[in-house]
C-alpha cells in the first residue's frame, strides 16, 4: 500500500508539469507575437503558430520513481489534449498505477487549466484520497 501511495505521488508530478503549462502563466503561448518558447516547454516547429496553437513538449522531469515527460496540444492558448511520453514503468505495479492514474490526472489537469479555478469542493477526502485530488494538484502547482 505504501508503495502504491508513493508511486501515485510520483505520478502526480505529471499534473504539476501540466498545470505549469497554464496559458495565463505563459503569455507566450496565449499571446499573439512571441515565437520563443517558454523555458519549460519547447514548441514543435511542426504545428506551432503565433496564436498559442500547437504541440508543446515538456522537459523530462525526474521524480523519485522515474522520469515523467508529457506533450500538450494547445488550441488558442488552451490545452486540448495531453500525451504522456515517459512515465515510471519499472515494474508491473507501476504500469498498473500508471494505466489508471495517468488518464485521470491528465483529465484533471485539462479541466483545471481551462476552468482557471482556485480550489475544489467535493466529498470530504481522506488524507490518502487527497494525494490523487485536483486540490492536491493545485497546491503543488502553486507551491
Amino acid at each position: 500500500m505504501r508503495r502504491a501511495v508513493l508511486a501515485t505521488t510520483g505520478i502526480s508530478a505529471l499534473v504539476v508539469v501540466l498545470l505549469s503549462l497554464k496559458p495565463h502563466q505563459l503569455p507566450v503561448l496565449a499571446g499573439a507575437a512571441p515565437r520563443s518558447p517558454a523555458s519549460s516547454a519547447t514548441p514543435h516547429t511542426r504545428a506551432t503558430t503565433s496564436t498559442g496553437t500547437g504541440t508543446f513538449t515538456g522537459d523530462p522531469i525526474n521524480t523519485d520513481y522515474g522520469t515523467v515527460q508529457v506533450a500538450a496540444t494547445l488550441a488558442k492558448g488552451r490545452i486540448t489534449s495531453v500525451k504522456v511520453l515517459q512515465a515510471p514503468d519499472q515494474n508491473g505495479r507501476d504500469q498498473q498505477i500508471a494505466s489508471y492514474a495517468l488518464p485521470r490526472l491528465t483529465q484533471e489537469a485539462i479541466g483545471a487549466q481551462s476552468a482557471h479555478i482556485d480550489a475544489v469542493s467535493g466529498a470530504s477526502y481522506t488524507s490518502q484520497g487527497y494525494i490523487q485530488s485536483l486540490q492536491s494538484a493545485l497546491d503543488q502547482a502553486h507551491a
Binding site: R104, L105, Q107, E108, G111, A112, A115, H116, I117, D118, A119, V120, S121, G122, A123, S124, Y125, T126, S127, G129, Y130, L134, Q135, S136, D139, H142, A143
Partner: protein
C-alpha cells in the same frame, strides 16, 4: 484589496483525517504568518478534543460516559449547542448521534475551518481561501477585482468539474457526497445510509452552518429542494446517482 505583488503563503496541513489548504492572497505580514501557525495549531487542538477515532479525546470519553460535559473544554459545549441548533433547524435530519454514539463530526470540521479563516481575518488577511478537506470558507477576492473560482468536483466523473462557483466576497461552499468515503452519511430517522444524492453542494455565508446543513440536506433526500428554497441565504446544487441534476432558484448567482 488583495495584493498581487506580494501573494501570501499557501500552506497544506494533514490533520483531522483529511487535508486543509490555506491559500492567502494578502501581503504576508508577520501577523499573518503568526495567525496561520495559530490556525494550524487550532486544528490539531480541535482534533485532540473532538476526534471519535481517539479513545482519549474528550468527545470519546464524554460519549462513553467516562467524563461529564462539565469536565470538557468550553468549545465542546459550543459545538454540541450548534449541533442542537442544526438538528432543530433541519427537523431532525442532522443528528449528533448519527450511528448511535456521540459524533459531532458533521459539524466540527466546518466549524474548525471557519474558525481558522476567522483567525487569519483578525490578523489582517482579508482575502483567503481555507479548504477543509473539500469544504471551503472564502473571504474577499482571489485578486483585485477577480472573484474566487471554486470547482465543484463531479461525483460520477472523477477528475471533471460539475460546475464552477464564483464567489465575490465572503462565501462558504460545502459538498457532501459518496465519492471519497462511500455511503457514510446516515438517515437519522432510519439509521440507514442516505442514498438520494451522489453529491449535494450547499453555498451559504459561513461554513459551520453551511457544512452541517449540507449533511442534513444530503440525508433529507426527496424533500431537500423545497427545504433549501425556504432556507434564507443558502443555495444548493444536487447531483443524483443517475447523473441528473437540480439547482435551487438562486444558485445561478454563484455558478452555472
Amino acid at each position: 484589496m488583495p495584493d498581487t505583488t506580494a501573494r501570501g503563503p499557501r500552506h497544506v496541513e494533514h490533520v483531522m483525517g483529511t487535508v486543509f489548504t490555506f491559500d492567502i492572497r494578502d501581503r504576508p505580514t508577520a501577523a499573518v504568518h503568526r495567525a496561520l501557525a495559530e490556525a494550524v495549531a487550532h486544528l490539531h487542538r480541535v482534533d485532540a478534543v473532538f476526534s471519535t477515532y481517539r479513545p482519549d479525546s474528550h468527545i470519546s470519553r464524554l460519549g462513553s460516559g467516562g467524563i461529564r460535559l462539565a469536565d470538557c473544554p468550553p468549545e465542546v459545549h459550543e459545538v454540541l449547542s450548534l449541533c442542537e441548533r442544526v438538528t432543530h433547524d433541519s427537523d431532525g435530519w442532522f443528528s449528533v448521534v448519527p450511528a448511535g454514539t456521540l459524533d459531532p463530526s458533521g459539524l466540527v470540521k466546518g466549524w474548525a475551518t471557519e474558525a481558522a479563516s476567522r483567525l487569519l481575518h483578525e490578523a489582517g488577511a482579508h482575502h483567503t481561501c481555507v479548504n477543509g478537506g473539500g469544504d471551503l470558507q472564502l473571504r474577499g477576492q482571489a485578486a483585485p477585482g477577480i472573484p474566487w473560482r471554486i470547482g465543484i468536483a463531479h461525483p460520477l466523473r472523477p477528475g471533471e468539474l460539475a460546475t464552477v462557483v464564483t464567489a465575490d466576497g465572503d462565501l462558504a461552499v460545502a459538498t457532501s457526497g459518496t465519492a471519497e468515503r462511500g455511503s457514510h452519511i446516515l438517515d437519522p430517522h432510519s439509521g440507514t445510509p442516505a442514498s438520494a444524492f451522489a453529491s449535494l453542494t450547499l453555498v451559504g455565508p459561513r461554513l459551520t452552518l453551511t457544512d452541517a446543513y449540507a449533511t442534513a440536506v444530503f440525508a433529507r433526500g426527496d424533500s431537500a429542494h423545497d427545504w433549501v428554497e425556504k432556507l434564507h441565504g443558502y443555495e444548493a446544487l444536487a447531483i443524483l446517482p443517475d447523473g441528473q441534476e437540480w439547482r435551487t432558484s438562486g444558485f445561478s448567482r454563484y455558478g452555472s
